[in-house]
């Protein structure tokens, strides 16, 4: 039946989701807690699909509609320790809970919510796994910790050293960047080094930036600042932000991101410069988004389609991903100029491929991109 971790109420195990939801809303306090625990323990639609075999269609539809769009966020407070998976960590804020007054906790909570809303609204994706996966953030990780990261299952945020860098929840795109690593891992498993790693990084910056633009009222691409990690530097004279997608290399005084393949950085540092060379595909996305114009949902849908394209290999190079953005732009918008704009965007950063691919695709032939 259910696969559960933690607390188990045997009678609640056999109740269908629609009944559990009703109890969660109207039962006694103990019943509500038990029903919520049972619902919360299963993080995917798998159980609902299994129940669909026994439950009436109407009840299942109601249960699915209730779950879709329901965020399940939990922020934990590491209290400046570095807990490992399995360690006991204090819960600071849970879904439905009020603001705590702890900036890192509240910013992480809100940032994960904004990211979830964006994915659902613009890409019709229900959380990291598209099955309503709960979102877990770990704030106050380490001491003076100048980083945020995705550890394969959870998002972790440091407070910064307070000298060079501020807390890593200060900009919404940081939360959405980390959450997007989870999405990329689910969809494409882009290997985290060299060009595939830079693509992995770029996709997180793209979605990071879009969540910010979405939160700013679905800003037009031409009005957005395209800055990642704005406000992270304690001293603004060091720089306004960590990275610029519009003008890679200009975000701060030590920003070395290239904007063109001729300046690709070959290095052993940073897994082959995944945070450096991401500037190139970042710039391509910026050019595509501004070339199309308006709020960049079309460009995002094109990039997202390429990410989910089964032809995208884990060791993809920039050019292979670029080709897939072009093909998917044409598939999504066969009547418009989007595909042409996407192709031009990549050309402007030095990524080109033979015209044969383009013309064959435009004639409607299916061509395997190798």
């Amino acid at each position: 039946m259910h696969q559960q971790v933690g607390h188990r109420h045997s009678i609640f195990c056999i109740l269908p989701p629609d009944v559990l939801l009703d109890i969660a809303q109207t039962g006694t306090e103990e019943e509500r807690e038990a029903a919520l625990n049972t619902l919360a323990a299963d993080t995917t639609f798998r159980t609902l699909r299994a129940i669909r075999l026994a439950a009436p269609v109407a009840a299942t539809a109601q249960a699915e509609a209730a779950v879709l769009g329901q965020k399940r966020r939990t922020i934990y407070d590491c209290k400046n320790r570095m807990p490992e998976p399995g360690d006991q960590v204090d819960q600071a804020r849970a879904e439905g809970g009020p603001a705590t007054g702890d900036s890192a906790v509240d910013e992480a909570f809100d940032g994960l919510g904004d990211t979830y809303d964006f994915y659902l609204d613009v890409l019709n994706r229900n959380s990291i796994d598209d099955q309503g996966m709960p979102l877990e953030g770990y704030a106050h990780y380490g001491r003076r910790y100048n980083n945020a990261f995705w550890d394969g299952q959870r998002m972790v945020f440091g407070d910064g050293d307070g000298v060079l860098l501020n807390r890593f929840t200060i900009a919404v795109d940081i939360m959405s960047h980390e959450l997007t690593h989870g999405v990329t891992e689910k969809e494409a498993q882009l290997i985290y080094r060299n060009q595939s790693g830079a693509l992995n990084e770029s996709i997180s910056d793209v979605l990071g930036s879009l969540v910010k633009q979405f939160k700013n009222g679905r800003q037009a691409a031409e009005d957005a600042d395209w800055l990642i990690g704005e406000g992270l530097f304690v001293d603004p004279s060091h720089g306004k932000a960590l990275r610029s997608m519009k003008d890679p290399g200009s975000a701060h005084e030590r920003d070395r991101q290239p904007a063109h393949m001729r300046d690709y950085v070959n290095t052993v540092e940073d897994n082959g410069g995944v945070h450096i060379n991401s500037g190139i595909p970042n710039k391509a996305f910026y050019l595509a988004a501004t070339g199309i114009g308006g709020f960049a949902d079309k460009a995002t849908r094109i990039w997202y389609a390429a990410l989910r394209d089964p032809r995208l290999k884990p060791n993809a190079k920039f050019v292979e991903f670029a080709q897939l953005t072009f093909v998917n732009a044409w598939n999504l918008f066969p009547e418009g100029r989007e595909a042409e704009i996407v192709r031009n965007a990549w050309e402007q950063v030095g990524i080109e491929w033979g015209s044969q691919v383009g013309s064959e695709t435009q004639r409607g032939e299916r061509r395997e991109i190798t």
Binding site: M82, P83, E84, P85, R144, N146, N147, A148, F149, W150, D151, G152, Q153, V156, L165, F168, I174, H177, E178, H181, G182, E185, Q189, Y192, N200, E201, S204, G229, L232, L242, H252, R254, D255, R256, E269, D270, N271, H275, I276
Partner: protein, 106 residues
Amino acid sequence: MRIQYKVDGGFAYFPGLHQPVTIEADELSPEEADKLERLIEAAGFFELPAVSPPPPGAADHFQYTISVTTPERSHTVRVTDPIGDHHVRALVDYLEEKTRESRAAP
């Protein structure tokens, strides 16, 4: 004994974000040198695998590269956050402290 310590990677990575640090044990006070030796011994440093890979799908993690060289032997180890081994964690915390001190020194 010489220790070389380097950090790279991370969400905010840019060249120069972290400065590599070299510690010569004979330039430390006897207490400090002793503390460092005990940390290295407790970590079983010379038997540690050269590379401890990050969990699958991990991204934006710091990578710590530690090289220890003595007259008899030398070994280099690379680990990423979250560091599972508490002794290695303690060694990294110590090296981080030294990095902060060297940055703060005039």
